[in-house]
């Protein structure tokens, strides 16, 4: 009797022990200086909401932290194209359930994709899908076939975690029963963490599901994303161990490192790129020599070393996003790099007929992840003053600048953005947006050659051909000095002392929180 009791006790304690070891505990807190928007419905978000929604939802196609498509990390365990590249067949993972218990099937995949390109959607990337998509077939609960109007290679990357939210799989039955508005308030997904609460302007809180195929048993019981705009406040919270992961400005990295807090970088996280507002025909920058001169007059190394605290690299190619270079096999030749040569800049200006310089407007504004925006604009103005150009700084905020840019009310004026780095498909959509035909309001280049190349890429079905076209496009942009690629920015993130290791990854706007919460 006593022995049986003892055995029972032993068994009980054994199961207790394993249960305790497996259960998620504690809270992971991520503090950021801003959230792009704070919506919980992927169709209303866009690439800006990936970092927290990616924990709540699964993607059709997953990616590894360094940006490669992976059948292990998405709902699709395999995918293949028909020989004419117009039918894409996806085989789905079995036994995946939403947080309310519903099973995830091909019906949900079809529903989610159609919803993402529907009229209510403001994800920002739906345009290409709308143009390409003919229909979606669901021959079996674990098989989806996407049929396109033109042959194309873009479907898998488009529906992956590398791009935006179009690939997130949503619960059809739940949304159809409670409606879009209720879903936006209380979202349900199939990801490793489920939604608990949101206070706009303050935080989003998620709670772990007991076990998930993507990460195993989650390490933390809750994950909270907080928005703390003021840097001093954020850093004080890191010091007090209230926050485990926070973005930090480049100027304060040394202070935090000296206090013993590990700082990790997303290298080449963004390209800080400047351009002249179109149309150029009545402005000095219509002359290629002037554009080259303005590029040569800037000391990129000095800016990288001082304003960006050494956490930046000089850039040479307009829209040259390096993660795309890797995909299309482009190595930047040395001749493409811009030396700092104010003398030659002045000579070029004189040659072009502007020996006495000319006035130019520079819009100065901050951007999320670019607190140094205004400082940089002032610095550029300083360099250009030294070669005889007469810059006027116009401080605005980004929306005000964008209006002038899109309405084309300030031809020849300078604007800029920190373009998040991304793979080739992301770069293609970017080029489509900013370098494609004057009829698009956000065009910055107005170059027919580039237009032709971009048109060819969308319907090319041969990877080597696509790569070659992209390389040619970059070469042309560089040769024409189509903009001012300034520096690649490394974004520092400071972590609390209890975070042992973390790879921030190189997926656009995704912090690889998976890596922090995955089972050891």
């Amino acid at each position: 009797m006593g022995a049986a009791a003892a055995l029972l006790l032993l068994l009980l304690s054994a199961t207790q022990a394993t249960a305790a070891a497996a259960a998620p505990t504690g809270e992971l807190t991520v503090a950021l200086s801003s959230f792009a928007t704070e919506v919980l419905d992927p169709a209303l978000g866009g690439h800006g909401v990936k970092f927290y929604l990616a924990l709540m939802f699964d993607y059709l196609i997953g990616v590894t932290p360094d940006g490669r498509l992976s059948p292990e990390l998405g709902i699709a365990t395999a995918w293949e194209a028909s020989p004419d590249h117009r039918r894409w067949t996806f085989t789905l993972r079995r036994d995946v359930r939403f947080h309310n218990g519903d099973a995830l099937t091909s019906a949900d995949v079809k529903f989610s994709i159609l919803r993402a390109i529907g009229p209510r959607s403001t994800t920002g990337y739906a345009g290409v899908l709308r143009a390409l998509l003919d229909r979606i077939e669901t021959p079996a609960p674990d098989r989806v076939v996407i049929v396109t109007r033109e042959p194309t290679l873009v479907i898998p990357p488009y529906l992956s975690r590398a791009l935006a939210t179009e690939g997130m799989i949503l619960p059809k039955r739940y949304i159809e029963s409670v409606g879009d508005d209720e879903f936006a308030r209380k979202p349900i997904g199939s990801g490793p963490y489920r939604f608990v609460e949101q206070v706009t302007g303050s935080h989003v809180r998620l709670a772990a599901v007991p076990h998930h195929w993507r990460i195993g048993t989650p390490r933390y019981q809750t994950v909270t994303f907080r928005v703390i705009p003021e840097e001093s406040t954020r850093m004080a919270m890191v010091r007090r161990a209230e926050v485990d992961l926070a973005d930090v400005s480049r100027d304060r990295v040394r202070e935090m490192e000296q206090a013993g807090f590990p700082v990790r970088y997303r290298d080449n996280d963004a390209l800080l790129h400047l351009w002249w507002i179109l149309p150029w025909d009545q402005t000095p920058v219509r002359d290629r020599r002037v554009r080259e001169a303005l590029n040569l007059a800037i000391d990129r190394r000095e800016i990288a070393a001082t304003i960006f605290g050494g956490k930046a690299e000089p850039a040479a190619v307009p829209f040259g996003l390096t993660w795309a270079f890797r995909d299309v096999k482009l190595t930047v030749p040395d001749e493409w790099r811009y030396p700092f040569d104010p003398a030659r800049a002045r000579a070029l200006l004189a040659e072009a007929g502007y020996r006495d310089g000319f006035p130019i407007t520079i819009f100065a504004y901050q951007l999320p992840a670019l607190p140094e925006g205004r400082e940089m604009a002032e610095a550029i103005a300083g360099y250009w003053q030294k070669i005889g150009v007469r810059p006027t700084l116009v401080p605005v905020d980004y929306p005000a600048f964008r209006k002038q840019w899109v309405d084309r009310t300030a031809p020849g004026a300078i604007g800029y953005y920190n373009l998040p780095n991304r793979d080739w498909i992301g770069t293609y959509t970017l080029l489509d947006k900013f370098a494609h035909t004057p009829s698009r309001p956000t065009d910055t280049v107005a170059d027919r050659e580039v237009d032709r190349m971009l048109d060819a890429i969308l319907t090319a079905t041969d990877r080597p051909k696509i790569n070659a076209l992209m390389r040619q496009a970059f070469a042309r942009l560089r040769r024409e000095h189509a903009g001012i690629p300034l520096v690649y920015l490394h974004t520092p993130y400071v972590t609390s002392k209890r975070i042992a290791a973390w790879d921030p990854g190189s997926v656009m706007l995704d912090l690889n929180i998976d890596g922090l919460v995955a089972e050891r």
Partner: protein
């Protein structure tokens, strides 16, 4: 006070003896600095030099006399920017307060004298204006028309006048009960004459007190607006925006925020103390200011 008696003569003479010397001295000093900025400043406040950014003041390890108080994040000399900043910040303060005072006094006088429909409408307008938060309005203006010196003055002045209007209105109401006003009316003085010659001079003391107290307030509000991105824009040196720019460097380059902050502290404290003293001198009953 219009009447002249031996008592008030005594008061006026000892006024100077009881004047708070230090605050008045500080104000005078900064005003002189602002006027002579070009002569006194060691360097060009706009000259940037990235390699010399965030250099410490002269007494620190890497400091030098080239930049006695150090440099800011673009390598501009801090001392020069503070001296020129005196010009900008003081002008902003005085301009806003004068503008608002002019409008406010006019409204208060008219409302108090004419009463009736005009008075009620003007006071409704005043109350409505008082209910608008200054900082929100300034933000909206900055976001709509872009931040600028003029926009800051307009944004603050557009709401500040209401405070003066209320005070002047109260004063005028009290004054209207007095005998000399009734006398002036009986003797056939025109409305304009009564307002300008009899009412206005009697409201000046409280107006003066309020104005001197508010100059400091305007300088502080400009700083808060710069913090929110709606203040006097770079590269113009203004104390408020200098503090706002330097706030992320408190731990690493404390001087960038500290010295402009010290300047604001001294000047605003001085104005406040002078205003307090003026009020105590003129009429301790003005406690509602």
């Amino acid at each position: 006070m219009p009447s002249s008696t031996p008592e008030s003569a005594w008061r006026r003479s000892s006024l100077f003896r009881r004047m708070p010397v230090i605050p008045v001295g500080i104000i005078t000093g900064f005003v002189l600095l602002a006027l002579a900025a070009g002569l006194v400043s060691p360097a060009d406040p706009y000259a940037q030099s990235l390699r010399a950014r965030l250099a410490p003041p002269v007494w620190a390890a890497d400091g030098s006399w080239a930049h006695p108080l150090g440099t800011d994040r673009l390598g501009r000399d801090l001392l020069s920017r503070i001296i020129f900043g005196a010009r900008v910040s003081l002008t902003a303060g005085v301009a806003t307060v004068l503008l608002a005072g002019l409008v406010g006094a006019a409204v208060g006088l008219l409302a108090g004298y004419y009463r009736g429909r005009i008075g009620r409408v003007l006071m409704r307008l005043t109350d409505a204006t008082l209910a608008l938060p200054i900082i929100l309005l300034a933000l909206v203006l900055a976001v709509t028309a872009g931040p600028s010196f003029v926009n800051v003055v307009i944004a603050i002045g557009a709401i500040l006048w209401a405070r003066y209007a209320r005070v002047v209105y109260g004063e005028v109401l009290a004054l209207m009960e007095r005998d000399f006003i009734a006398q002036a009316r009986l003797t056939g003085c025109s409305d304009r004459r009564i307002i300008l010659v009899h009412l206005l001079p009697n409201t000046l003391p409280s107006l003066l007190v309020l104005l001197s107290l508010q100059i400091g307030y305007v300088i502080i509000v400009e700083a808060s607006l710069s913090f929110l991105g709606a203040g006097i824009p770079p590269p113009t040196p203004a104390w408020g925006s200098m503090i706002a720019e330097g706030r992320d460097y408190i731990a690493s380059a404390w001087w960038v925020s500290f010295f402009p902050g010290l300047a604001i502290l001294l000047v605003v404290l001085a104005f406040n103390l002078v205003g307090d003293w003026l009020r105590d001198e003129l009429d301790p009953k003005l406690h509602h200011l």
